[in-house]
């Protein structure tokens, strides 16, 4: 029952936040920062293609691979939050992403010095995300 990593993409597809839960996921933490940006961009591309083909608004919601699952939540404002976790945590991820979206709205967007397109560097946010991730059973 492990959450490996969390990504947040801005409306234009930039990676604005990314966190690997290192102590619980030594494998995921071996991926370099550059590769993580690359992964996020690739996902953004597929997600956009998915929406264009399907004509729906949601795009890719879940991807299963090996022992893992990726779940994505797109917001009506164009943000994308996605998480990679063990399959055993799959049922908890929708709730987890909702909790992260609330943290983002409260901690990040209410900071008047945080611009909407800029990468998120907030210690409080990082700590709160870690806490939420650890609580996922």
């Amino acid at each position: 029952m492990v959450i490996h990593s969390l990504f947040i993409l801005s409306q234009s597809g930039n990676l604005i936040y990314n966190q690997v839960f290192q102590e619980r996921s030594p494998e995921a933490s071996k991926i370099s920062a550059n590769d993580q940006i690359l992964l996020a961009s690739v996902f953004h591309g597929f997600h956009t293609m998915g929406r264009a083909i399907d004509g729906s608004k949601s795009g890719i919601e879940k991807v299963y691979f090996g022992e893992c699952v990726l779940e994505c939540r797109g917001t009506p404002t164009g943000l994308k939050l996605f998480v990679i976790a063990d399959r055993s945590s799959a049922d908890a991820l929708t709730k987890f992403l909702s909790a992260i979206y609330e943290l983002l709205a409260d901690i990040v967007l209410k900071n008047p010095f945080q611009s909407l397109q800029q990468p998120i560097r907030s210690e409080l946010f990082t700590q709160s995300v870690s806490k939420t991730a650890l609580a996922v059973k």
């Binding site: 929406r51 917001t75 009506p76 404002t77 164009g78 943000l79 979206y101 609330e102 709205a105 967007l109």
Partner: protein, 184 residues
């Protein structure tokens, strides 16, 4: 009707979870912002423009909180979104529910009417500020929030309680649905 009741229910349960602030602190803070702008800027049009811009910045940020806390997931559909704005947005942030009226045939323009609002309690406009739109920040908030949902709107104050009208009315006109933004 059931959609409206449903939104009202969502608004109440969200409202009960949010932190509250004494409305007079809010009224005085907003008053201080407006009077400071009036002192600092040369003319009233400039003050209105600044209030609108500040509102826009607020709306851009508030919309995500509303969506995150209510779990609503609206498409850019003017009727539904305006119902959310009035029944949920104004309810949870200002404790009021303005009425929607005068929808045009193709659902692109509507008037929001406010009977009272904490923003303008105790305010009496001096005659030197006849052109001041005291409520302009609210117009900006609506504009900013809807822009994040892909809807470009124009908001105009068409009646002002501070200038003798029965209600304060904001005319919201949909100008463009920005689909392309999400696909590019």
């Amino acid at each position: 009707m059931s959609r409206e009741r449903n939104l009202a229910k969502i608004a109440e349960s969200t409202f009960s979870k949010l932190d509250k602030v004494h409305s007079e602190i809010f009224t005085m803070t907003y008053g201080a912002i407006v009077t400071t702008l009036v002192e600092d800027l040369d003319n009233v049009d400039e003050v209105n423009a600044q209030l609108d811009k500040m509102g826009h910045n607020i709306g851009e940020r508030l919309v995500d909180e509303l969506l995150a806390k209510t779990g609503l997931n609206p498409q850019p559909d003017m009727r539904y979104v305006m119902e959310i704005v009035t029944r949920v947005g104004f309810r949870i942030y200002l404790g009021i529910t303005p009425t929607l009226s005068n929808w045009n045939a193709d659902s692109t323009t509507v008037t929001l009417s406010f009977r009272d609002s904490a923003l303008s309690d105790w305010v009496e406009l001096p005659h030197t500020l006849d052109d001041l739109s005291y409520f302009q920040l609210v117009c900006g908030v609506i504009r900013g929030a809807l822009e994040m949902l892909g809807m470009k709107v124009k908001c105009t104050i068409t009646a002002d309680k501070l200038k003798g009208a029965q209600t304060t009315d904001i005319l919201v006109e949909l100008q463009e649905v920005m689909q392309a933004k999400f696909y590019n």
